[in-house]
Amino acid sequence: MKIDTEARYAKSHEWARKDGAELVVGISDHAQHSLGDIVYVDLPKVGANFAKGAAFGVVESVKAASDLYLPVAGKITAVNGALAESSDLINKDCYGQGWIVRLAPADAAEWESLLSPEDYEKIAAED
């Protein structure tokens, strides 16, 4: 299981990494591995606002469809358009080219309250 040590995590297996004032959000290596080959990602509209924990999209694999939950509240500033053609980027590089959305957080401090890489690794290992 790969862990991005720069990112913080939600129990629902999304990661969020700071990039300037914004956050980049994706799903963890553990999540992509559990889902299997991802065939489709339903992305939100740019400009949409979501509460912390709100479902902002769906990832569909050959065996399941799962909601994506936003780790912190905020406004979507960009979506990864490359996923429309190549959703397998999430399988190949979930912390890099497989990012899902960029977010302007409503409360910059909320990110700090997410799980640390170490704590998430423990939770994922028990999953």
Partner: protein, 441 residues
């Protein structure tokens, strides 16, 4: 798989666990007088006697085959080649649903795939599902597809010419939804342009309940400008002749598939046709069969995009109230294959020409007029006397002349919706015109 009900021993065990001895004890809350009523049934009859009694009852019905039939209004008397029921009733095909191990039943999946392909061709759309209950539920699902465009999509625009029963079905589907359902008149493009920005879906009828063929130019662009989708309710027979909804830019097409090889029957089964674009295919409910290659490169068929469906996503499924109409879909598949592109066009041309000739004949009668505008096979006639009275008189002469509009609009006493298909001969039409002339005196 055999269906094995509970055995006597299991029943006894269940009763024992809830502290009862007999099943009769479960009914003791009902008043004793109502508990086991005497039914006073006759002595049993022999099979032949039963058949004769049922045939006598059945012969009291007026059917499309037993008279000259000019009634449409949502269910249409089109010709069905004899091979359709023959092939569709073959044992290998007789199942109402896609099977539980679908990929084992390659023949069933291929039939659905061929159906989807031909409907895609007919409607001008990219993706088709395996069928719905009927045209009304298919249209209601098309409306739901529009509402899936986002939480800010809250407005549904329905045309004033929508079949009143379709409108009721849509209302039932939306009864608990917080959406604005409004009726528009005029062209779809103008209605969309006048809509607020929260438009989810605009429905256009092609043609509408009164037979009018709407001008769909500019409709898709105007609807998209308001963030909604264009849903077209189409007559699939008419699509053999006129520009397809896909060519008009429709995002989703719903249609009643009864006219494609399914019998007129009170209560069905009918067939809901649904087609959409690749862009919206994940909002499409129901089953979709796809073509695939197996490990050895051989062509095969599979259920595809199943993550939309209730056995994968449960409460998040695109629809939990849809079903595949396996047999009706199969009949439409065989019907379309037998008719072919040229047969569909020929049937549609016959409908058009005979309907227009019939309309001219009626319009020439004293006191009668035909509503203006473009129509295909159905049109509204204004009658010199009460249309229901006229209809009853013609029925006495073995002619079902159409639907008096007072059935749905009590104040419209002198209007008759007349339908002409390829099954109405020139002699039938002459008889209709002559009977209308005589009985309207």
């Amino acid at each position: 798989m055999p269906y094995v009900p509970a055995t006597d021993a299991q029943r006894e065990d269940m009763l024992h666990r809830i502290g009862l001895v007999s099943i009769k004890e479960l009914f003791e809350d009902f008043p004793a007088a109502l508990r086991y009523p005497r039914l006073d049934l006759d002595e049993g009859l022999g099979e032949l006697e039963v058949l004769r009694e049922l045939e006598a009852m059945s012969s009291a019905n007026v059917t499309a085959d037993s008279c000259r039939w000019f009634l449409g209004a949502g269910a249409y008397d089109h010709f069905i080649p004899s091979a359709v029921p023959y092939l569709a009733s073959r044992g290998e095909f007789v199942t109402a649903y896609t099977p539980y191990q679908p990929e084992v039943s390659q023949g069933t999946l291929q039939a659905i795939f061929e159906y989807q392909s031909m409907i895609a061709d007919l409607t001008g759309m990219e993706a088709v599902n395996a069928g719905h209950y009927d045209g009304a539920t298919a249209l209601a699902e098309a409306v739901l597809m529009g509402l899936r465009g986002g939480a800010d999509r809250r407005r549904v625009l329905l045309p004033d010419g929508l079949h009143p029963e379709y409108r009721e079905v849509i209302s039932s589907y939306l009864v608990a939804a917080d959406v604005a359902v409004e009726t528009y008149s005029g062209t779809p493009a103008a209605a969309a342009a006048a809509s607020p920005d929260d438009l989810a879906v605009l429905v256009a009828c092609y043609p509408d309940f009164f037979g009018r063929v709407a001008d769909l130019s500019g409709a898709a662009e105007a609807v998209h400008a308001k963030g909604g989708i264009l849903a077209v309710l189409a007559d699939p027979v008419m699509l053999g002749l006129l520009k397809s909804p896909g060519e008009w830019g429709a995002d989703v097409v719903a249609a009643e598939g009864q006219s494609l090889g399914n019998d007129l029957s009170y209560g069905g089964p009918y067939l809901g046709i649904m087609a959409t674009t690749n862009a919206l295919v994940r909002r499409l409910p129901g089953r979709i069969v796809g073509e695939a290659r197996d490990a050895e490169g051989r062509r095969g068929f599979v259920l595809t995009l199943v993550a939309r469906e209730q056995h994968i996503r449960r409460e998040k499924a695109v629809s939990n109230i849809c079903s595949n109409q396996g047999l009706a879909t199969l009949r439409s598949c065989i019907h379309l294959a037998l008719m072919g592109r040229s047969g569909m066009r020929r049937a549609a041309e016959l409908c058009w020409h005979r309907a227009h000739w019939c309309a001219r004949r009626i319009a020439a009668l004293d006191g009668f007029s035909v509503a203006p505008g473009v129509f295909f096979k159905e049109f509204v006639v204004t009658t010199p006397i009460d249309a229901e009275t006229l209809s009853e008189r013609l029925c006495g002469r073995g002619i079902v002349c159409g639907l008096p509009l007072s059935r749905y609009w009590p104040e419209r006493r002198r209007e008759l919706l007349v339908c002409v298909t390829e099954k109405n001969s020139k002699a039938d039409i002459e008889d209709l015109a002559e009977a209308l002339r005589e009985e309207a005196k």
